[in-house]
Amino acid sequence: MLSLKQRRSLNTLLMGVLAWGVALAIFFPIFWMLLTSFKTEIDAFATPPQLFFSPTLENYTLVNERSDYLHFAWNSVVVSFGSTIIGMMLAVPAAYSMAFFETKRTKGTLLWMLSTKMLPPVGVLVPIYLIFKDTGLLDTKTGLVIIYTLINLPIMIWMAYTYFKEIPKEVLEAARMDGSTLFQEIWRVLLPMSKGGLAATVLLSLILSWNEAFWSLNLTASEAAPLTALIASYSSPEGLFWAKLSAVSTLACAPILIFGWISQKQLVRGLSFGAVK
């Protein structure tokens, strides 16, 4: 019979192997996508699917020529960063006010803001579509930026609020005594102290905007369509395209994947509205 210690190590080993197995299984589709992006179309469509093949970069080089990838990518970038920047400009002051000058209505306001996120987009699809049509915002990056700012604002305010709450009020008071104006207090003391949390907030907003797949599909056509729409257009098959699809997809998903890996811990806070720390 094995000793207690040996049994524990065996246990750990087995669990480790099992964990790796599960993780690889879950990651497999992404891995396969990556793999396929380096295949020729013929290899990609081969039956049975090939694990070993001679890799090629032709898909990546062709991506831009075929589908004007850069145009769509640029739209994604502009819309994500645009909505994030505007969102932060609104969220930071709001969170500052709520964190350091809390009134009886603060909690209520926060909860109300979060509740606006629970509005299913379909519920307002029609009015928004019509408003955008009438104001000429359909198929514009501006229109998307506005929508994205609105849907991400509650989470941004909320995350900034929780990070600001962790900063001792007295340090800000010290800055005030030292002669700082409100702007200087925020810019030179508060923001540097909450760098980490705000970075996570920014990343979360970028991820949510980049991957957003409702408004981007319905409110854009060709001008302002971001990458989500580009990929969706591949659903109507135009011959063999798997390898190219994989290449485009890899390019589209890579940055966000990396952002996500970096900010996992803070994302938990943001995504669970703080109920899980």
Binding site: T109, V122, I131, T149, A213, S235
Partner: protein, 315 residues
């Protein structure tokens, strides 16, 4: 002799108190502070009120983009049509099936996997990264990867595995369209559950576990009596948040099946979309939209109560 404060100081009436009112009065700054929330509140209020009230308005008139100008008040007619349209029953049941299945799969697997990963082993950090990755993939990419690379009945990976075991490969999107969607969505949301539950497990009280083990509790007992109750709240959070988002699943259906075959993969969100943007019946779609809003609000009500509690019990 009592030494008390002097009441008549030299500064009392003689000198005029000089007030530096140009800059930096406390009252002014505290007013600014309180109003810094206003732009956000205003903007969000508009975002809520305007579209929602328009939806309400549209839902009680006849409004079809193909026949503009024919907008008379029709009361609850749109709601009636929407609910009796045979797409509706399918839409509702598909929505419930979709949400329920994904919840079940993600929570059960989420608990199991997070428990698995909770102990230290070689490469745990990398395993974590691998496990949470699907969440960051664009929904449209997700859908197409699964539809083409994995589930394709001829060249897909699943087909290859089936053939390897000597079975005939399944044409997933034809034979089990809804299940295929469920698979795709579960894969995307499983990391969310894993991430939250993993984090919650890390705050599990070690001392409590050790005390229980000393008392003779085996692994099953530990799980049922200590771990599961501790996870009750994060699971509730996962369920609530996933429900909110799963009710509006759209992109995956849009990119793969377009709601079909027939209505088999149409959920409420897609149904409304097809009414509005494919059949141009705004009135009908608005009625449907309101129903979706009501459903979501019910789920949201519980979520807000849960969050409200956790927000108020600081630390």
């Amino acid at each position: 002799m009592k030494t008390t404060a002097l009441n008549a100081g030299p500064a009392s009436s003689a000198a005029e108190p000089k007030q530096d009112s140009r800059q930096g009065s406390i009252r002014k700054t505290s007013r600014i502070n309180r109003f810094m929330v206003s732009p956000s509140v205003l903007v969000l209020a508009l975002w809520m009120v305007i579209p929602l009230s328009m939806t309400i308005y549209f839902s009680v008139i006849r409004y079809n983009l193909l026949y503009p100008g024919d907008n008379e008040f029709v009361g609850l007619e749109n709601f009636q049509f929407f609910v009796t349209d045979f797409g509706f029953m399918a839409g509702m049941s598909n929505t419930l099936l979709l949400v329920g299945s994904v919840l079940l799969i993600t929570v059960v697997l989420g608990v199991l996997i997070s428990l698995l990963v909770n102990q230290a082993f070689w490469g745990r950090g990398i395993v974590r990264i691998l496990l949470i990755s699907p969440f960051f993939i664009m929904p449209t990419v997700n859908a197409l990867i699964w539809k083409n690379l994995l589930l394709h009945p001829v060249s897909g990976v699943f087909a290859a595995i089936w053939k390897f075991f000597g079975a005939t490969p399944i044409d997933w999107f034809s034979e089990f369209p809804l299940f295929s969607i469920i698979m795709i969505v579960s894969w995307q949301w499983l990391p969310f559950a894993i991430l939250l539950l993993m984090t919650a497990l890390q705050s599990l009280d070690q001392e409590q576990q050790e005390a229980a083990r000393l008392d003779g509790a085996g692994p099953w007992a530990l799980f049922f009596h200590l771990t599961l109750p501790h996870l009750a709240r994060p699971i509730a959070v996962v369920v609530m948040i996933e429900t909110i988002f799963l009710l509006s699943i759209f992109a995956e259906i849009f990119t793969t099946t377009g709601g079909g075959p027939g209505y088999e993969t149409t959920n409420l969100a897609y149904l409304i979309y097809s009414q509005a943007l494919l059949q141009f019946d705004v009135g009908l779609a608005s009625a449907g939209g309101l129903i979706a809003v009501v459903l979501a609000n019910i789920a949201a009500f519980f979520l807000v109560r849960l969050i409200g509690k956790s927000l108020t019990e600081k630390q």
